[in-house]
Amino acid sequence: MKVFELKVSEDELIIRLKKLEKSAFEMLYNTYIDALFGVTLQIVRSVPLAEDVIQDSFIKMWKNIDKYDARKGTLFTWMLNITRNTAIDKLRSKSMKMEHKSIDTIEETESVEHKIEHIGIKEIAQKLDPQYYELIDWVYFKGYTQSEVAQKLNMPLGTVKTKIRSAIMQLRQIF
């Protein structure tokens, strides 16, 4: 299953990216920006912050493209992880600055203050089991680690792993 359409083959694009061709990075931007920006916005919930994250992420991609290994995953998964990690880092450092409030309190106040609730998110929330939706929200949009999830759910790590698998299985069946 291929979800994005590139104008050149992915192999060719990777070769051009590794040569640091600007036009190749522009193609990457044009193809994937809406998806990356949407995810970033869901994580940081502020347009200026999301723009910062995207800028930082593209610099990281530019600097680390030589480390990208196609055997380990698709180009988009690689970009998505760089962007998600950058966004989550930004969110966490921002919440640290806010008088050492815990991440939870920040999330609660933020989502009330500026609710950028994407229509797609509602769709996901409606179609998934509530427990699976919550799990995907935690790991995908909030960047919780395995042990943070284990702590929240009061479950052993092994169970967390299989739960995450079930959640993604359901996601794969629906979307």
């Binding site: 800028q55 992880n81 994407h118 996901i124």
Partner: protein, 276 residues
């Protein structure tokens, strides 16, 4: 772990979400390389996650693109990238091949001495009373320092070249040996050529030898440990060592034995092991 166990475990999902630990990543990458079904499952999970990001798509302001691509002209990035790459490579070479040499207090002292003396002579150069003799000494010191450095790089380069040649041979199987509770940080890679039987090993973080002791490699052949050779006493991290060849083996292990080795391994003193 077999292929069904790894698929069912949820590890592949964690890997795609970038939540897996280093050890888990190593395991996943190994299984994906070895088994087509695991690879297909990984690709399907990636596609699933990718479709999630299609649902939440959002167009940013048109100016964002200019902000990214104007600010970082191609040339600047390429230069920065090259410098980073070169310094990273140089550091890796130094870290990997000469840790003992560089970490030795005398080496550090000597390096600083050489550096300090070249700074001193550089200062002297601006001194109008500098004599021709001093200038000559300065260049001598600098040249000696540079040629010393050059030799180090050359040796390392050759070492890496040899290693690459060993690793790139067809028929090679890479087996990771993990530390037992005797040496939890230790790690070793056995490179076993199933065509020629050649066995090479690279060991890292193995505890320092007690006196009168030596490490010995064993190959498990049909349930029996067979001597695969002694690890040199003056072992340094990451050096590739050539061991005895084997046509058939199911596992490899390293034990601590008396200097000169034993005929059978001391089972209490197994330090590293791994299955083929």
């Amino acid at each position: 772990m077999n292929k069904n166990e790894i698929i069912e475990s949820g590890l592949l999902e964690l890997y795609v979400l970038d939540m897996a630990s280093k050890e888990e990543c190593v395991l996943v990458e190994k299984m994906v390389n070895e088994d087509e079904a695991v690879k297909q499952e990984l690709l399907a999970i990636q596609a699933g996650i990718e479709s999630l990001s299609l649902i939440t798509e959002q167009k940013p302001d048109a100016n964002l693109k200019n902000k990214i691509f104007d600010k970082y002209s191609e040339k600047e990035q390429q230069e920065a990238h090259m410098i980073e790459l070169i310094s990273h490579k140089a550091q890796t070479i130094l870290d990997q091949t000469l840790p003992n040499f560089w970490n030795h207090p005398y080496t550090i002292a000597a390096t600083y001495l050489i550096l300090a003396s070249s700074v001193f002579f550089a200062y002297k150069q601006y001194d109008s009373r500098k004599s021709a003799e001093q200038a000559l000494t300065e260049y001598k010191t600098k040249t000696e320092y540079l040629s010393l450095q050059n030799t180090i790089y050359k040796t390392n380069y050759e070492k890496i070249n040899i290693e690459n040649q060993i690793l790139a041979k067809p028929g090679n199987k890479v087996i990771q040996l993990s530390g037992t509770p005797n040496a939890p940080d230790a790690i070793a890679i056995v490179c076993w050529n199933t065509n020629t039987g050649e066995v090479n090993i690279k060991i890292k973080n193995i505890p320092e030898l007690p006196s009168q002791k030596q490490y010995q490699l064993w190959a498990m052949v049909n349930g029996k440990p067979i001597d695969a050779g002694l690890i040199p006493l003056n072992l340094t991290n990451n050096l590739v060592i050539n061991m005895k060849p084997f046509a058939n083996a199911q596992a490899f292990a390293i034990s601590l034995e008396q200097v000169g080795g034993s005929a059978v391994p001391d089972m209490q003193q197994i330090f590293l092991m791994g299955n083929v």
